[in-house]
């Protein structure tokens, strides 16, 4: 069981900002009135960040990864999370072998 000092610091930093977002509601409750447009932009943050994190792996690695990402996106329109993961992993293994 090892605990790297930098890793610990990163984990504590992540915990701190997450805690701040969760407790912010106590201070903001009843005072937050977003326009529909601002609400839509707020709702778009999680997908924007998630896609920004994986885009290099999916789009700038090779054809196998890009192809597998497209197949995975197709699977995501009808399968639950684990089904989507299964399709993605099998697709990338198959396409890398081509």
């Amino acid at each position: 069981m090892s605990l790297d000092a930098l890793n610990l610091l990163a984990i504590l930093g992540m915990a701190l900002v997450t805690c701040a977002t969760r407790l912010a509601g106590l201070a903001l409750a009843g005072r937050l009135d977003l326009s529909p447009r601002a609400q839509a932009a707020f709702d778009a943050i999680p997908p924007a960040v998630l896609i920004a994190v994986i885009a290099p792996g999916a789009l700038a690695t090779g054809w196998a990864e890009t192809g597998a990402a497209l197949l995975t996106a197709l699977a995501a329109t009808r399968l639950p999370v684990l089904g989507v993961v299964a399709v993605g992993v099998v697709a990338v293994v198959a396409l890398r072998a081509l």
Partner: protein
């Protein structure tokens, strides 16, 4: 007036399907974290202190040695920013909670227990018994299974061998589908993906996350304005 015991039983019966669904995801998280060199203790600590699936997957994908702390914290903040709106909506419904219960309860607010609590609050008073009967088993299960996953992952070795490195990409695509809200999301995803991949090629990590997120947000703002104008024109 239902007793605290009845409320606790309701909480437990409401959360267990979500808890079950989180088991394989937590296992996979632990295994991928182990693949990036995180120890079981670090996986357990992160899961217990951060307790945010999407942000944790993103962090492990960005993880390197030495840990890029700024990028990790920033990506976590962005992904969890939605919690500000969620907790602002939930906070007024916690009237029966003591201040300590409010802080402790909200610390472990995730998408699943938040959604269930909001649903419960439409028909009942939200009690600490209901909230904690939902939240405590969920947290304990997530932390335990993620740690187990890291032990299994460390034994399995290099995840690239069986395409497990691509599991990140697949999970994120599935998560984005869960956040899908029509055309606005489509523009967001296209802008974030292209900007991130281009920035990765030109400037390298970790700037691709910032560039992708900001371009995605700008696209969402623009598309939401367009959508709004379209709805107005139809009305």
């Amino acid at each position: 007036m239902p007793s605290a015991f009845d409320d606790a039983r309701m909480g437990l019966s409401d959360i267990w399907p979500a808890m079950l669904a989180a088991v394989p995801v937590a296992l996979l998280f632990g295994a991928l974290a182990a693949g990036k060199g995180l120890s079981p203790l670090e996986v357990a600590l992160m899961s217990a202190l951060v307790f945010a699936g999407g942000a944790q997957f993103a962090a492990v994908e960005l993880w390197a040695t030495p840990a890029p702390i700024g990028a990790l914290v920033f990506s976590t903040l962005l992904i969890n920013a939605r919690h500000v709106l969620m907790s602002a909506s939930l906070a007024p419904k916690l009237r029966d909670f003591s201040p300590g219960q409010r802080l402790g309860g909200l610390y472990y607010m995730a998408d699943e227990n938040w959604a269930l609590a909001e649903k419960r609050a439409r028909t009942h008073r939200l009690t600490p018994a209901y909230w904690f009967a939902m939240t405590v088993p969920f947290v304990v299960c997530f932390v335990g299974v993620a740690t187990l996953g890291s032990l299994i992952g460390a034994a399995l070795g290099d995840p690239r061998r069986f395409g497990a490195d691509f599991a990140f990409t697949a999970i994120f695509i599935a998560l984005v589908a869960a956040f899908w809200k029509g055309r606005v999301t489509a523009w967001t995803v296209a802008a974030a993906g292209l900007a991130s991949a281009a920035t990765y090629k030109l400037a390298g990590p970790p700037w691709h996350v910032l560039a992708g997120a900001l371009c995605g947000l700008a696209a969402a703002w623009w598309a939401a304005g367009r959508e709004h104008a379209r709805v107005e024109a139809q009305a």
